[in-house]
């Protein structure tokens, strides 16, 4: 194989799953038979293709090699075997400074001895851009990210969200061919994370940059990903669109990852006043959503109220079924209930005391009650 192709014809041979979705026609990044050994870490024969302008999210447990994958794409670590192509060009032996690939880490890595303005303009300075032009461009991108007033400050005086905006500005000012984000939102509080996530989405839309983003937050996948790559122990175990990952997931991992044990595929029919009816294998649930057609549904275990008698409640959903399993992790117990007609299995979480006082055992008939808003449609 002399060069990475532009059409993805190689895809079927290497790893059918790990190619970009059909909508993006051009190839951006190709990783071929990637093998690397770093200390105790080892990755063997990893293959991945990322389409031009694609937003690719990488998930996986700690130690899966996600950061090493990113740093190797950036050129920090050398491959033992394998090739990396960027827009068809072999960049395997190209040093990081000549690759045109940017990286943003969770802990910002803003240079503490430089102002925010100098940090953002750092890459332009390396390219020999004049001081005035550097300052103009830094001010422009900083303004776009809402940190225009902080250019003269030093990183130590900024909040986490502001620092991460500066780090993103510093990377995107060079208009990288690929932007690598290593858990960029993980160190931030919920509100900041949400607003920065919107910012990333906007940025991706405007700049059409190819992005590979590592995350531990399922919300990032919902709102950002074109495609999801699941890694474990140095290999890619699954690859696909958000729907594919959720619909036929590596169940155990995705379940742990989302904390949403009750994930189903269903058909959604809108009703009046913003609610809808979702049919899952014959079982009808009510949710708040304006979607219609094929959807995925997730319900967190702690949203399910379990009772032996049917509850008189305002909650829209009530199902009846048989307890098939009770598991205990020391803090709380999980009760698996099979709905009586459809066989759909729900998992509810309860404290140990709750189980004891209710006196439920396997085989009991119970009711599960939950609000329409507890049914998460995606």
């Amino acid at each position: 194989m002399s060069e990475a192709d532009n059409t993805g014809s190689m895809t079927d041979i290497t790893n059918p799953q790990c190619s970009y979705s059909k909508e993006s026609s051009k190839n951006c990044l190709t990783i071929e038979n990637f093998s690397i050994t770093l200390g105790d870490f080892k990755a063997e024969n990893l293959n991945l293709k990322v389409g031009d302008g694609e937003y690719c999210i990488v998930i996986g447990p700690t130690g899966a090699g996600k950061t090493i994958l990113l740093e190797t794409i950036a050129g920090i670590h050398r491959l033992k075997t394998g090739k990396i192509y960027l827009h068809g060009r072999d960049i395997t032996d190209i040093p990081p400074e000549l690759r045109g690939i940017g990286i943003v880490y969770q802990d910002y890595m803003l240079f503490p001895h430089m102002t925010i303005g100098d940090n953002i303009a750092f890459g332009l300075k390396q390219r020999g851009v004049s001081k005035e032009e550097r300052e103009r461009q830094a001010a422009e991108i900083a303004g776009k990210l809402g940190i225009g007033h902080l250019l003269g400050r030093y990183p130590q005086t900024l909040s986490g969200g502001e620092k991460q905006r500066a780090a993103i500005a510093r990377a995107v000012i060079l208009k990288p061919k690929v932007l690598l984000l290593d858990e960029p939102l993980s160190a931030l509080d919920n509100t900041t994370r949400e607003s920065l996530r919107r910012e990333l989405k906007k940025l991706h839309k405007e700049m059409h940059t190819t992005i590979i983003h590592i995350t531990h937050h399922f919300e990032d996948i919902y709102s950002l990903a074109d495609r999801v790559v699941v890694m474990r122990e140095g290999s890619i175990i699954q690859c696909g669109t958000v729907e594919e990952i959720v619909r036929k997931p590596d169940t155990r991992f995705i379940a742990d990852f989302t904390g949403m044990e009750n994930i189903y595929a269903g058909i959604c029919t809108p009703l009046s006043n913003g609610t809808c009816e979702i049919e899952i294998n014959g079982l009808k649930l009510y949710a708040v959503s304006d979607r219609s057609g094929d959807v995925n549904v997730g319900i967190r275990p702690e949203e399910l109220i379990i009772s032996k008698e049917k509850l008189a409640s305002s909650a829209r959903n009530s199902v009846c079924g048989e307890v098939i399993k009770i598991t205990d992790n020391g803090i709380f117990s999980k009760i698996a209930v099979a709905e009586e007609k459809s066989g759909v299995i729900f998992t509810a979480a309860l404290t140990k005391q709750g189980i004891e006082s209710m006196n439920v055992t396997t085989g009991d008939k119970v009711y599960l009650t939950f609000k329409a808003t507890a049914v998460h449609v995606f």
């Binding site: 920090i76 990081p96 400074e97 940017g102 890595m109 503490p112 750092f122 390396q126 990377a171």
Partner: protein, 272 residues
């Protein structure tokens, strides 16, 4: 509830703190005794004497040169030991740490044999080329350099290891070459530790005695650094001059300590 928060009399605490205070008191008494031994007039005479002024200048100049040479070797060596993996790194680490626990006299005799025109081929070769090291001021620089380089490598290693390599990775992806990353990111970020390490090395060089005595000898007005001046005048019974040299060395130590405290505040400077 009061019993748990109340501070009880503790014999243990009293003994430990008492010992610490006694040690401090001991230092004060001993050094004050030395400083106050000569009359102020005698002391000023000695400090201004030609011999002591020569010793100050020689110590300063040789220490500056040897510290500069140490830095030239220690900066890249320490960086390599911090960041890169290479064959024999473990062994190199042990060897580099060995001189730290070795008396400088031992290094001195090894240097003397190496540079001796009679005892070694290397010294013989230098001698044939007209270069004589032993018993010259160049020998002072070499002795200081040889003894202090391992200290400086160790000190700078701890400074470099405090710079997260991801700063360098980020700089590289922003278009910075390896060299420029080192100059623009790593060095400035390790600056405090580097300055502290260099200042400590300089002060150690000023005070180096054993290795200098072996390789450069104790020749009045020739290889007479401050510690050598202290030694020579002691053997000839000129205690006032010895004390003058000692007071200068003491003052330098105090200034260095303050400088290091200032630059190395909270940055984990290795005082070695």
């Amino acid at each position: 509830m009061t019993t748990q928060t109340k501070h009880h009399f503790s014999l243990f605490k009293l003994l430990c703190t008492g010992t610490a205070l006694a040690a401090v008191l001991g230092l004060i008494v001993i050094f004050a005794g030395m400083i106050l031994y000569p009359t102020p007039a005698d002391l000023i005479d000695c400090l201004l004497s030609e011999e002591i002024r020569f010793a100050i200048t020689l110590s300063m100049v040789t220490a500056l040169i040897s510290t500069f040479l140490c830095a030239v070797i220690a900066i890249p060596a320490a960086y390599s030991m911090t960041r890169f993996d290479f064959f024999g790194k473990e062994a190199a680490n042990i060897l580099l740490n060995l001189p730290l626990s070795l008396p400088p006299l031992v290094a001195g005799i090894a240097l003397l044999i190496f540079f001796s025109p009679v005892l070694s081929p290397a010294g013989g070769l230098l001698s044939a080329m007209g270069i004589n090291i032993v018993y010259t001021s160049a020998a002072i620089v070499i002795a200081q350099f040889f003894v202090n380089t391992p200290y400086m490598i160790r000190s700078l290693r701890s400074s470099f290891s405090m710079v997260n390599p991801r700063y360098e990775h980020t700089a590289r992806t922003l278009g910075c070459s390896e060299w420029n990353t080192f100059v623009q990111v790593t060095l400035p970020m390790a600056k405090s530790g580097l300055i502290a390490g260099i200042v400590i090395t300089w002060s150690k060089a000023m005070g180096e005695f054993g290795a200098v005595l072996m390789l450069a000898g104790a020749i009045a007005m020739k290889t007479e650094t401050l510690p050598i001046a202290l030694f020579i005048n002691m053997t000839t019974g000129d205690i006032e001059k010895s004390v003058a040299a000692a007071i200068i060395l003491l003052a330098i130590s105090a200034v260095v300590l303050i400088a290091v405290e200032h630059y190395g505040k909270g940055r984990g400077v290795d005082y070695v």
